[in-house]
């Protein structure tokens, strides 16, 4: 703050000095013009002879004294101009206009180049923002028309009836032999897809949105073997308690799922851990925001290909 006030006062003084200097220059120029005019045209007097010469010399002397005074005044004013302290705050960059060897110093072109690149970067960021907004990775549609007054009711992936999901899997089972899909008793959102006698895919579906997916061997169990609560489930319960949102409902659902189903433990076989990785990639790749049913269909097809590779 102090520095700013000081700079303002210096600038004010400088402005006043410059204004006075301009007046002084005008006076100097007038004086010089007058001197030359007197030299050129001479001085008209009523007296004769030698008096004329004396008058002329005296007048010329006066003119020169006037010019000298004006010049001295201007010189003193220019001398009293104060240097702005901007240069100090800007570091060496502030002195760039004083650089005597401009062409040899690389800093100026570098600064220019940096400015250009920052401009380009801003442009790219704007383009990326536009593209990202167009293909939003979010799985809900709420963000599309938040600011518009008339919000259109968009179709949501959550809006599908469970009967519709069941019908979809029934059709799938009928179309492909060796595929068995059933809802897990402990949780209605969990589907157990058995592919041949090789592997099983455990799908946690929120309507047609795949929330979690894990591949295990055909003979591996999907329940907790010893009935104990896994660490992950404990974490879920603790989070529920901390959030205290819909506590009773949340806790009852979490505990019923956690105590029986094991949706977190990876397969103990390396091959199925690898397949889980690939299937997860496929799940993300085939995610279509506008066509959730197609996402599940494509994912199932890719999983069948993966299982056929094993046989």
């Amino acid at each position: 703050m102090m520095q700013n006030e000081e700079m303002a006062s210096v600038t004010k003084e400088n402005v006043m000095l410059i204004t006075s200097s301009i007046s002084a220059i005008q006076r100097l120029r007038t004086g010089v013009a007058k001197t030359f005019s007197h030299l050129n045209q001479g001085i008209t007097t009523s007296k004769d002879g030698e008096d004329n010469k004396k008058v002329f010399l005296t007048r010329f002397q006066q003119d020169l004294v006037h010019v000298k005074n004006s010049f001295d005044e201007l010189d003193s004013m220019v001398g009293s101009l104060q240097l702005l302290k901007d240069a100090a705050t800007m570091g060496t960059l502030g002195l760039i206009n004083l650089d005597p060897v401009l062409d040899k110093t690389p800093i100026y072109p570098q600064v220019l180049q940096t400015y250009k690149w920052s401009g380009k970067l801003r442009e790219h960021a704007q383009t990326a923002e536009t593209i990202l907004n167009r293909q939003c990775p979010k799985r809900v549609y709420g963000h599309i028309g938040i600011f518009s007054k008339k919000r259109k009711v968009q179709p949501s992936s959550h809006a599908y009836n469970p009967v519709h999901v069941d019908k979809f899997f029934d059709t799938w089972q009928k179309s492909y032999s060796g595929v068995e899909v059933k809802r897990v008793q402990q949780s209605p959102n969990v589907f157990q897809v058995t592919l041949g006698r090789t592997m099983q895919v455990i799908l946690v579906l929120q309507s047609f949105i795949i929330e979690r997916m894990i591949v295990r061997a055909h003979h591996e169990t999907i329940l907790q073997e010893d009935g104990s609560v896994s660490m992950a489930c404990k974490a879920v319960v603790v989070t529920c308690i901390c959030l205290s949102v819909c506590l009773s409902v949340c806790l009852s659902v979490c505990l019923s799922v956690c105590l029986s189903l094991d949706l977190w433990t990876q397969s103990k076989y390396a091959v199925f851990r690898k397949i889980t990785d690939h299937a997860t990639s496929a799940m993300l790749n085939f995610h279509f925001t506008t066509m959730p049913e197609l996402s599940v269909k494509s994912f199932m097809a890719s999983t069948m290909i993966l299982s056929s590779v094993l046989l």
Binding site: G196, R197, T198, A217, H218, H219, S267, Y269, A270, V271, F272, L310, L311
Partner: protein
């Protein structure tokens, strides 16, 4: 538990049995397998007394330390708790065994991703009879589904010339592979070693 193939491996020319086993284990280690302990499969044969030709083969596998597998001469099988051994001891008057007839395969156990490799020396008493190599592919329980993969792995391990054939009793098996199927394979090989002449080396 997965599909398992047990096969005999001949002793290399000019080498001892131990040297051949060392060669195989080094090869497994070279492939990237890690040693995960030792293993043992043993078989005691209990003969019925008083001129009765009936007998029971009682086998143990260190993979299933609390289980006893019993197979009779008529191929009836019983998978029971190890307490069954104590019952047999009580039936000394009806079924008896000789400690010298005990045959076992002992060696090191290796694991390479989902494959388990066991290389064991078969011995009756103090006499070494041969080498048995067991390869198990753990993620699969259907023999037909993974036999080609198992064959490929064994050819990589034992050499391209080696073509393992599925055990005769398992060729048409469509059910899930059981630990008893592995025990049957061991028993088949143990019987062959018993009938074979004692090797000179």
């Amino acid at each position: 538990m997965g599909v398992t193939c047990v096969t005999q491996w001949p002793v290399a020319e000019g080498k001892s049995m131990q040297q051949t086993v060392d060669f195989l284990t080094k090869k497994a280690e070279f492939m990237g397998a890690t040693k995960t302990g030792t293993f043992a499969v043993d078989c005691d044969t209990f003969h019925a007394s008083a001129g009765n030709p009936k007998f029971i083969n009682v086998l143990h596998n260190s993979e299933y330390p609390k289980t006893t597998f019993s197979i009779t001469d008529s191929n009836s099988t019983l998978v029971s708790d190890t307490g069954f051994d104590a019952i047999l001891q009580k039936l000394k008057g009806i079924y008896s065994t000789k400690m010298s007839s005990r045959i076992e395969s002992k060696g090191k156990r290796y694991q390479l991703a989902d494959f388990i490799v066991k290389v064991g020396i078969v011995s009756i008493g103090s006499s070494n009879r041969g080498i048995l190599v067991e390869v198990e592919y753990t993620p699969c329980v259907i023999l037909q589904d993974c036999w080609p993969l198992l064959t490929e792995f064994m050819q990589g391990f034992l050499g391209n010339g080696f073509v393992p054939k599925p055990p005769s009793n398992l060729v048409n098996k469509v059910d899930v592979y059981q630990p008893l199927d592995t025990i049957n394979q061991y028993l088949e090989h143990f019987n062959q070693f018993r009938k074979a002449q004692v090797p000179t080396r």
